[in-house]
Amino acid sequence: MISIIATILFALFAGFYTLGVWMATWQEEELSLSHEKAVHMNIVIIALSSILFAIALWAFIKIDWDTLFLIP
């Protein structure tokens, strides 16, 4: 179940950033702005968010949700 939710979330994130990259590339070409800067920045952001996402997922799996709260 967790892996399905994680996959969906990751796909949403990746999809959104890919759209951003596509949009920035398109606009840079359309307006002849200095080329590829937005694309490079977006690739860095995608890589960083993938790392953060992977760590978040790893931590989430490691949490023992059944004994999380200590009941006095």
Binding site: L19, S32, I45, L52, A56, A59, D64
Partner: protein
Amino acid sequence: MTIHKHWFVFFTRMTALLSVGVVPLFGFLFAPELALVINPDSLWYLLLFFAMIWWLALLFIFFIEWLDYWLDAWIITDQRVIDIEQKSLFRREVSEFVIARIQDIKIETPGFIGTVLKFGNIRIQTAGEESFTIETVPHLNEIKNLIMSFAHRGAMTDPD
């Protein structure tokens, strides 16, 4: 010539974002107190999980802010000025006017930081009573002089 907003505009936004970025560290700071109510075996992972989610959200905001900064631009040619304003991720406004129609250019320096870092606003009045404002641009005088030189050249070659 393509002009973007001055880097200071982006810097101020990023400073705010960075200051919010330290919030999860407080969780680690108060870990001993939290360990009284949360299982210590899972506490570190829980804090790490929330820190990552927090930073993912901030990265998302950074992405949108950066795109907004980078794709907001003015293109000045010897014929016209094109103003591209990125409103949101997929929404933008592009307006342009012919340089020969320029009647008046005013530059404004907004205070101390603007004076030191040499940025400000350029307000352009055209013959159609319309006015365009280019906000927080660097090299104010150079840009003003460039537009004025194009306008004079345009006025001299204009048959009307």
